[in-house]
Amino acid sequence: MTIPVRLRVNNAPRQHDIEPRVLLVHYLRDVCGLTGTHVGCETGICGACTVLVDGKAVKSCTVFAVQADGSEITTIEGLAANGVMHPVQQGFWECHGLQCGYCTPGMIMAAVHLLTKQKAPTRGQIASGLRGNLCRCTGYTHIIDAVSYAASHATEAAHV
């Protein structure tokens, strides 16, 4: 059995008939071919699969694709605008906010959502905001640096 799903992914309309049991993360990776969103646990804990659904950070392994019907989804591939990286992406690059890079797309999407809620978060607020995303490489300090960098450079940028 399949169910028709219509949604927008990175500003492009998508329409597919998909099995109701398919997780959103697998839909994005396997049907849309957007493999930048990663799977780390499939239990909603590690956050590697975080994407924006209607502007909010959502762990896409906790959602069925059919539940996202009608929504607007942004993945890591859709974050840069006109070839210019998002301030959060810039921050991760400038501050060595990643090592292996596997948690990074989810971490960046969670940080993007955080900065839409808090324009100038403290380091503690950034840490709290990223509690749902696990990183095993960096020890988080450089990630917090990266998000601070993004917050202070966001106003200079065209987006956010």
Binding site: C103, T138, G139
Partner: protein, 780 residues
Amino acid sequence: MSDATPYIGRAMKRVEDPRLIQGLGTYTDDLRLAGLLHACILRSPHAHARIRRIETSAAKAIPGVVAVFTGADVNDSCGAVPCAAAIPDLKAPRHTVLAGDRVYFVGHAVAVAVATDPYIACDAIDEIEVDYDPLPAVVNAMEALKSGSALTHPDMGANVAFTHVVNGGSDIDAAFRNADRIIKHRLYHQRLTPMPIEPRAVVASYHRGEGTLTLWTSTQIPHLLRTLLPNMLGIPETKLRIVAPEVGGGFGAKLNVYAEEALCAHLAMRLSAPVKWVESRRENAASTIHGRDQIGDYEVAVKNDGRILGLKATSVADLGAYLQLLTPAVPTLTGLVLTGCYKIPAIRFEVVGVYTNKMATDAYRGAGRPEATYLIERLMDVVANELKIDRLDLRLKHFPAPGDFPFATSCGVTYDSGNYQGTLAKAKQLADWDALMADRKAARAAGKLFGVGVSTYVEICAMGPSKAMPAGGWEWGCVRMEISAKVTVITGVTPHGQGQETSFAQIVADRLGVPIEDVAVLKGDTNVAHYGRDTYGSRGTAVGGTAIVMSVDKVIKKAKTLAAHLFETLDDYVVFENGKFKAPGITAREIAWSELAAEAYLAKNLPAGFEPGLEASSFFEPENFTFPFGTHICAVEVDRDTGEVAITKYVAVDDCGNQINPLLVEGQVQGGIAHAIGQALFEQTIYDENGQLLTGEFMDYAIPRATDIPEYTLGSTVTPSPVNPLGVKGVGEAGTIGATPAIANAVIDALTPLGVVHLDLPMTPERIWRAMQTRTVATV
């Protein structure tokens, strides 16, 4: 060069990052091959059981299922999983890729289903019926040593895999006879789960016409796999290509030859179709190697004035059910740095490796050295407390002087260089030690549980001299000045987050005098990086980087010969500086790489006997390990009501020799300390009394989150290593090794007013709370 400042020593952002922060990296699970099949593995829910029967017909009947195989189908045609460690009299069970008539641990692979879709493959394993006859499980390594214990592998007749004894330095018995006091202590180094955020993943593709097999795998060791898989697969290494694409964290967990790698390759050949297997997190927790798990009884022979005469360690290492690649070697590494930074004239180290019905232990970040460092650093505090000596004075009293290096230890290794007094002094200064002691006094007076811990560590890196390594410790590298004057660097190490695409480019750009943008570093594909020994043991830059340096120097030497020919002079008159060849006093002409490279490849005007091209490769064989060191100081406050630990200050001064890229060094240190915070405060792999794994998910296994990390004060000193031309030592494991005892010592120090003299790791709120209630020593 784009400007006069050298790239080496600069905190440069990474060339790896743009692809990774835009979701454009290719990890193994991201590969899409035409006709790809998906494997899912059925695993044992029992720690130890006899398999009476496996019924696969219902699974096979599901539309989309291509095949279902059990051990009976594959174990005869696919070889056993290898162990590379050579330990005398080692008893080892045959480790088949799928279970035979018994399962030996929870997570043991029993059957595999292959289907056109991963969801269907999972449906298929749900339909496989296995009739198990549960057997007594061996769960506790100490119990396993007792006569009458159940047996992990009944056919082996005993649970002991090996006994390894090292007597080093002067006469240990005399040391204990001459002691004023013998201080005894039992320490447990808990089992840990490495938990890289990317679980393992494998894609295998067989080209029937060529007879070649390509295996993409999330591994640290593509080259070692190419060496070891032919024995399992029956195809020669010349027909085997291993690719480690982007690898999402390793920490030792991917320093292994896993059954699933051979199994996928076997399936791809057997089914004539590419096969992918992606590990779930639960499988990762159960069936990827664990780390540590050593319990030891330690005795220190001391004089009343604080002199340590000798150290005896009797350690039991819980190996799990099987030997993975380095399982028995890891606990023996502990014996190599047992004495830490200290002059301790006599040692005896005995470790017994014991089989239990659990997943195998193997190398996890630090591998053997964290165990040694934790025990010696806890013991230094225990000895200081017993003798009422200042713990820093006790440490200083036993440090070798900077002039004592190279320093031969009683453990049988020679520390390359060091200045332990220097890191301690700098850490004290950064921590504002006297003020910290005053803070502690004031906090205690106010009824707070405030403690300060110190760890002065040394570790073994840059693995290593081949005579000390199971499979060769050299490294290979290649440098090619292309016809376009761009530079291709190929390394045999396999970085997976360490950033050597950047740091090796820094090294090469400086030496060749070219812009760093012109240098590309290739790695991780055995068809590109023809030889290598890969990434582990903090060896990448110290060993792999040196092979690159050797190759650059060969290219420059060859280029000088060509330049001399073009200048119509002799090699000796040619000078190479800032990317230009000159012949001062002979000609004012300068030759840039662009001109020289074109001449080398167009080959119309070469000296007699000069081979075209500008490429060189090298094998670097290190003469010794390197020995990074440092001092970590940690202050904590323990909540009296909840037992929760808050790290209020953390100072780390690490000396990893010269630093190629301080930003990457800082990242390694911070990441390493995070692992130590996990080990000290949260993490423990737990099996229940039946061998059931209780920490099978991130829900149950607590790795640190962003809110668990303190603000650090990081510093460094630089004592170059004399064993490689870069003077580097390695830094991948330092944080993990140095920080665990600093945090543990701080927590114990905080609890000292309550009379608590020791707690085992991890120092969870519950364990601390219980200790506070009873105010007695708590042990496992």
